[in-house]
C-alpha cells in the first residue's frame, strides 16, 4: 500500500497497481499514513466495513435509488441500462464512488478510484454494518476530512477538477421526445410553444432524426434540410439538441463505420476482431473511447452536425447498453428448438423464457470485448464505468475545439470525472410519483459527485404521464439547472400543452417563474464552478434536530432558498418543516408574495399553477421578469426579495452566457447588501454588470412588515 496526500484534507491509499482512471487531478505527495480502516483482500475482491449505530448516516453515491440518507439498501456501481427503476434495483446509469459517513463523532468522505464493479451494503443485510465490496485488488481509496459535511464535499471537489459549465441557454426549458419523427413535428412543437406562450430554449431530437440509427447521419426523408430547420429555430431562440449513441452501425459504405475500421477504432473480441453487439441499429461496433486517438477521431465527427448549426448534444446508450450479442441469441434459439414438442416442466420452461427475457446487458457481454488503455489491454468489465465518461470527454473536447464556445452536453452513463465534460440527465425514469420524489432526493448526491448541470426527465420517460404529475414535476424541475421534459415513443405525449388548455396555462405560470429565477440559478451554477460544494443541500447538513435529520422531501438550494415540492398525487399541499423562521415566497400569476413563517412544521397549500419556496433569514434572492427564452431575459431592472432581520448579502454572478470567459474569472458581479439598523434599512450595491441599471428591493422584516426600495446603479 502506498499512501499520499493531495491537499490538507485529502489523503490517498493505493492498493496494488490501480488503473489510471483519469478521475483525480492534481499532485500526489508521497507521505506515510495509516489507513483508518482494515481492508481484507481475497479472491480478487477487496472489502471493508464500517460499524453503524442507529443514528449514523451515509450520503452520496451519485444517481442512485434510495433516500438522501443511503441507509437500508444495497447499491452497485456498474453503469447499467435498465429502464424499470423500481425498488429492487441496485444500479442505475452512473457509478459514483463518493460517499460520506457521518457518525456521532465525526464525518468523513471516501472516494474509491476503481473503474469496475463495487457493491455497497449500507446497513441492509445487517442494520449495524456498512460494507463495501470492490471487485478487484487494485484501486485507490481517498479519505476526505473537513470541518463539516459541506466542507468535506468542497474538499473532495478540489481534487477532481472543475465541472462542465453549460451555456446560459442550457438553463432554459428543453422539450424532448423520442418520437419527433420529422422536421415538421419539430416545427409543430415550437409553434405550439409559441401559441401557448410557453417559454422554450431547446428541442431535443432522439433517434428519430438519424438515418437507420446511424451516428452523425441525418434522415434525408424525415429531416431533409436540418440546417434550415436549425437556423429557423435559432431565429426564435430555440436550439436543436440531437442524440448520439455509443454503437456504430456495421454497414459497408457508412463513413463512420469505415473510418472506424480503417483507423482501428473499435473494441475487439477475444480473437482481436471488432466485437459485434446489437443495439438500435442492429449490429454495431463500439468505438474504443478509452484510446486517445479514438476520442479525437470521434470528437471531430460532431462537426457533421455543428456545421448545420447545432450546438448541443446528448450522449446515450453509453453504459454501453447491449440488446443482445450473437452468442446469447443463438443459445436462446437453440433452447427453443430443443423445447419443441417437449412436455416442458415448469422450471425447464422458466429456463427457456429466461434465455430471451434476460438477454439484454448480460454480464458476460462485458467480458467479451476489450479496450486498449494506456498501452494495456483490458476487458470492458475491468474498465466498465469509464466508457460513458470517455465517450463524453471525446465529445466535449471535440465540441470545444469545433465550436470555440460553450455547448449543451449531457450523458446518460456517468462516473465522477465526467463532471468536467458534461452534465447528466438521470436516465430513463418513468412517469411515476415515486420518481419525482427520487429526482428530488438524488440532487444533493449528484452535486457531491461534482455534477451541477443535472435534471431528470421531467414528467417521466417511460409510462404515461398526466397533467397533475407533469405540473408537480415542473414545480421541482423549475429549480434544477437542466430542465428537460422527455418521454418515450408509445407513451402519452407530455408537452405542457398535451393535457389540455388548463394544464398548459398552469405550466406556463410555473415556467415563467423558472425564467424569473434563471439569473439566480445561473449565478449559483457559476459559483459551483468557482467553489465546488453543494448547490442542493440536505437539511441535515445545516440544521440539528430529528426533523431536519430525517427530511427527505425538502432541501436547501444555494445559501438562500429551501424547496419543498409536492411529490404525491391528489395533494392540495404538504407538510413543510421550517428549521428556523423563513419567508414563504409565492410566485403566482406574475405576483410575488412574501410571508413570514415561524420555525416548526405546518401544512402548506400548494396550487398547481404557482411556485412556492422559502427564503432564509438574512438572505436575498434576485429575480427578473419572465421571458419566453433565455435570449430575451431582461436584467436592466433586477428585482431582489429579502428577508432581513439584521443584514443580508447576495453576490449575483453573470457573464455573456456563452464564452469561456468565466475560466479567467471574467464574470460580472452585482453585490447587494441590505443592512437593517436603528435608522432604517440601508442598501449597498457594488456592480460590474454592464446591463443592470436599477435594483428594486422588497424586504421583509421579522415582524412580517414589507418595505420596498429602489436603487439606481
Amino acid at each position: 500500500m502506498n499512501t499520499f496526500r493531495m491537499t490538507k484534507h485529502v489523503v490517498g491509499f493505493t492498493f496494488g497497481e490501480p488503473v489510471e482512471t483519469g478521475i483525480l487531478m492534481g499532485a500526489k505527495e508521497k507521505v506515510s499514513l495509516k489507513l483508518p480502516l482494515e481492508i481484507a483482500q481475497k479472491d480478487g475482491h477487496s472489502r471493508f466495513s464500517f460499524p453503524l449505530t442507529e443514528r449514523d448516516r451515509v450520503y452520496g453515491l451519485g444517481p442512485n435509488l434510495g433516500g438522501i440518507n443511503k441507509r437500508g439498501r444495497k447499491y452497485e456501481s456498474y453503469c447499467t441500462d435498465d429502464p424499470l427503476h423500481h425498488e429492487d434495483k441496485t444500479t442505475l446509469y452512473g457509478a459514483h464512488n463518493f460517499f460520506i459517513l457521518e457518525d456521532d463523532d465525526v464525518a468523513r468522505g471516501y472516494f474509491i478510484d476503481f473503474p469496475s464493479r463495487i457493491r455497497y451494503d449500507v446497513g441492509f443485510t445487517s442494520q449495524s454494518q456498512f460494507t463495501v465490496d470492490i471487485f478487484g485488488e487494485n484501486f485507490t481509496l481517498l479519505v476526505i476530512d473537513g470541518e463539516n459535511l459541506k466542507s468535506i464535499v468542497k474538499n473532495f471537489h478540489e481534487v477532481i477538477g472543475k465541472p462542465y459549465m453549460p451555456p446560459k441557454w442550457g438553463l432554459g426549458y428543453a422539450q424532448s421526445r423520442w418520437g419527433y419523427k420529422t422536421a415538421e413535428d419539430v416545427r409543430r412543437v415550437r409553434e405550439a410553444f409559441e401559441r401557448h406562450d410557453l417559454p422554450l430554449d431547446s428541442i431535443y431530437l432522439d433517434l428519430d432524426y438519424m438515418e437507420d440509427f446511424k451516428d452523425f447521419s441525418v434522415s434525408e426523408e424525415r429531416f431533409p434540410k436540418l440546417q434550415e430547420l436549425s437556423q429557423e429555430l435559432q431565429e426564435t431562440g430555440v436550439h436543436l439538441v440531437p442524440i448520439i449513441d455509443a454503437g456504430v452501425k456495421i454497414e459497408e459504405g457508412y463513413d463512420i463505420y469505415e473510418e472506424g475500421i480503417a483507423g482501428d477504432h473499435f473494441v475487439k473480441n477475444v480473437k482481436g476482431e471488432p466485437y459485434v453487439a446489437a443495439v438500435w441499429p442492429g449490429k454495431v461496433h463500439f468505438p474504443d473511447f478509452l484510446q486517445e486517438k479514438t476520442q479525437t477521431w470521434f470528437g471531430e465527427k460532431y462537426k457533421a452536425l455543428t456545421d448545420l448549426g447545432i450546438d448541443g448534444f446528448w450522449n446515450d446508450m453509453n453504459e454501453p447498453a447491449i440488446f443482445y450479442d450473437e452468442t446469447s441469441l443463438q443459445e436462446g434459439v437453440e433452447a427453443a428448438i430443443k423445447a419443441q414438442g417437449e412436455n416442458l416442466g415448469v422450471y425447464a420452461f422458466f429456463n427457456l423464457r429466461d434465455k430471451f427475457q434476460s438477454i439484454g446487458n448480460k454480464d458476460e457481454y462485458y467480458q467479451r470485448f476489450f479496450h486498449e488503455f494506456h498501452g494495456k489491454t483490458y476487458s470492458n468489465e475491468e474498465l466498465h464505468n469509464l466508457y460513458g465518461f470517455y465517450m463524453t470527454k471525446s465529445a466535449s473536447e471535440g465540441l470545444r475545439k469545433i465550436l470555440g464556445k460553450r455547448f449543451v452536453l449531457i450523458s446518460r452513463a456517468s462516473s465522477i470525472g465526467m463532471h468536467r465534460y458534461s452534465g447528466i440527465w438521470t436516465g430513463d425514469n418513468s412517469s411515476w410519483w415515486s420518481h419525482l420524489s427520487l429526482n428530488l432526493r438524488m440532487l444533493p448526491a449528484l452535486n457531491m459527485s461534482g455534477f451541477y448541470y443535472v435534471g431528470a426527465d421531467t414528467g417521466g420517460f417511460g409510462g404515461n404521464a398526466y397533467g397533475e404529475l407533469l405540473l408537480r414535476w415542473l414545480q421541482l424541475s423549475a429549480f434544477t439547472p437542466l430542465l428537460r421534459n422527455h418521454s418515450a415513443l408509445g407513451c402519452a405525449q407530455q408537452e405542457p400543452y398535451a393535457f389540455g388548455t388548463e394544464v398548459a396555462e398552469k405550466a406556463r405560470e410555473i415556467l415563467r417563474d423558472r425564467y424569473r429565477l434563471i439569473p439566480y440559478l445561473y449565478s449559483e451554477t457559476l459559483k459551483a464552478w468557482k467553489e465546488g460544494g453543494l448547490m442542493f443541500t440536505p437539511l441535515a447538513f445545516e440544521f440539528w434536530g430529528e426533523e431536519a435529520q430525517h427530511a427527505e422531501d425538502q432541501m436547501l438550494l444555494g445559501e438562500e432558498l429551501m424547496i419543498s415540492p409536492v411529490t404525491q398525487a391528489n395533494a392540495g399541499g404538504r407538510y413543510v418543516y421550517l428549521p428556523e423562521a423563513m419567508a414563504e415566497v409565492t410566485f403566482k400569476e406574475d405576483q410575488v408574495t412574501l410571508t413570514l413563517e415561524k420555525e416548526g412544521v405546518r401544512y402548506m397549500s400548494y396550487a398547481l399553477d404557482e411556485l412556492k419556496f422559502h427564503l432564509r433569514r438574512n438572505r436575498l434572492l434576485p429575480y427578473v421578469p419572465p421571458a419566453s427564452s433565455t435570449r430575451d431575459l431582461e436584467v436592466s431592472t433586477l428585482h431582489v426579495l429579502g428577508y432581513v432581520e439584521t443584514e443580508g448579502e447576495y453576490e449575483l454572478l453573470d457573464d455573456d452566457g456563452i464564452s469561456y470567459g468565466y475560466e479567467d474569472e471574467k464574470m460580472y458581479s452585482t453585490r447587494i447588501r441590505v443592512t437593517r439598523g436603528e435608522d432604517g434599512v440601508k442598501v449597498d450595491v457594488k456592480n460590474t454588470h454592464p446591463h443592470i441599471k436599477r435594483i428594486l428591493l422588497t424586504i421583509l422584516d421579522g415582524e412580517n412588515h414589507i418595505m420596498e426600495k429602489e436603487v439606481l446603479v
Copy 2:
C-alpha cells in the same frame, strides 16, 4: 333497461340480459326510475362518465394501486397475476367494481355487476372526467345513496350479504414462506418462534408440501406424516395452513385429475376437450368452478387435508394464472427457429424476445376456454372475474360442511361476493417501502368491498426485506385482522428472527402489542359482520379541512383509534395530523402511556420497538395482557384506556372464537360506559362475557390528567 329497488337506498338499472353473477343478495322490486347518468353503448362496450371538478374525490375499487382517493390513474377490473406492482400497473388480483364519487353537492356509491373487463379512467386522461368503460352491453348498475360516505358503504353492504368471519386464531400472527420445504423446516420455524418468545398462531405452507404441485397431495418424502406434524403444532397452539392452487395436474392415476375427467369437471377448449394450460405442475386442467356440481366435488376434496387436522387454507393462482399454453409456446419456438442465422433488425428482435417475455397470462388464453354457468356456455373472458370467487365459494362451503366450525380461508383472486366466503391477502407484493404504504391505503377500499379479513404479505413477498422494513410493516399489520409474514423462494428469509437478535426483540415487542389488541380487533370484526361499514376509515370520511381530505398515510380504525404508521426508510418518526384533540397511546416494553395531544400537525417520534396510535376523544379502548397464542389470551382482567372529557362507551363483542354462534347473534357483550360529571368519574359495566371478571380503567381527561379505576363485574 329495467329498473328496480333493493332497499331504500339502493336502486338498480339493468342493461340487456346480465349474467347472474351471484353477487347481489336480496329481492329486487321492479320500479320505474330514471338513471342519473347517460350510458353510451357501441361495439359491445358500454361507457359512462362523470365530470370532475378539482375538489371531487373517488373512493373504492378494492385492492388496487393508487391512493385512498383514486383520482389520477387508470384501473382495470380483470383479475391478473402480475407480481411486479409498480406504478404503471392498472390491475392486480381483484376486480371490485364498487366506488363512491363525492362532489361538492353529493356523494353516491356505484356498483357494476358485470363479470368481465371494466376500465376506469379516474381523471387521468382528462383531469376533469371520470370514465367507466364496461367491456359488454349486459350488466347491472347499482346506485347507492346515503346520508354520508360511511352510510353509503353500509347501504351497499346490505345488498351483498354478510362477510366471512374468521376464527379467532385467524387474528393471531401467521408465518409463511414459499420455501418451507420439509416438515423439519416447519418444526424449526415453530421452535425458533418459541426460542425467541415470539407469538405465533399459524404456519402457512406454500407449494412445497405438495407432491409435484398436485392439489390435495402431500409429499411423502418431505412431509411424510403431516397429521403428526399438524397435531404436534396444534398442541402448541399453532395451525398449519396449506395452499391450494386452481390448476389440476394432468397425470394418469392422480385421483383428482381422474375424478375431474370422469365427472366432467374441467373447463373446455373450443373443441369441447378439457383445456390445457401450464402452471406450476406443468400441464393442467382447470376445474369449472362456475358449475355447482364442480363446486361441490372440489369442496369435498379439502377433506383429504382436514382429515389430517388442517383447518385453514389459502386458494392461489385462481385468476387463473397461466404461465403459457401450447399454442403460444409453439409460436415462440417457431419464431426462434425462423430467426436462426438471420441478421435480425432491432424490431424483429424485440418481436422475438416478446414472444417469450410476454407469454404469461395472455388475453387470448382466456378466450380459449369455456365454462358452463346457469346452463349456458361462456368463455372465461366473459366471466373472468368470477373464477377465484367461485373456487373460494367451493372451498368455503365444502369446509363448513366438513369441519362444522370456522376455518381460515383466504384467496388471491377476488371479486365482491367472495367476501361472504373468505378473506383475501393483497397478492404477491414486494419488499418495497411503497408497498407498505400501498397496504395502508388499500385497507378502506377493501372494507368498502365487504372484505374485513384482509392483510398484505407483511415484509413483502418478492424482493429482499430487511430488518427496518419488516419492523415498520409489522407496526401497520399489527392492526390488520390478517397478519401474515410471507416471502418468496429465493428472497431473503424474513421471519422476525431472520435479521438478528435486535430485530427479533423489536418484533417481539410489536407482536406482543398486537396480541394485547386482539380482543378489540376481534370485536371490531364481529361488529363489521353484524353491521357492515368500514373498519378502516379515511380521515376524509369523518373530518373537514384540507389536511383531513388529503390524508393518505393515516386513518381511523373502528370508532376509537387513528393509526399513523411510518412508511418511509430511515425515519425516526413522522408528521401526524390530528383533526381534533386525541390521546397518543404508546405501547412499549409492556408499558402503556397515554398523552393528550392537541389538534394540528406535529412530528411524532416512533421507535422500531413500540406501537403508537391515537385514541379519540370520548372513546374507550379495551386490551389485555400479551400472550404467545390467541389460545392463551387471558380476558379475566380487561384493561381499558380512555380519553374521556364528558362520556365514552365501548361495547366489546366476543364469542367462543370458533363456532357459528355469532350467526344467531350469540355473542358475549361487555358494555363499558365512563361518564365524567361534577362528582368525578362514573363507570357502568354491563357484562355477559363469562370470563371477564375485573376491569382496570386508565382514563385521561382534557387536562392531561390520568385516573385509574378498578371495577369488578
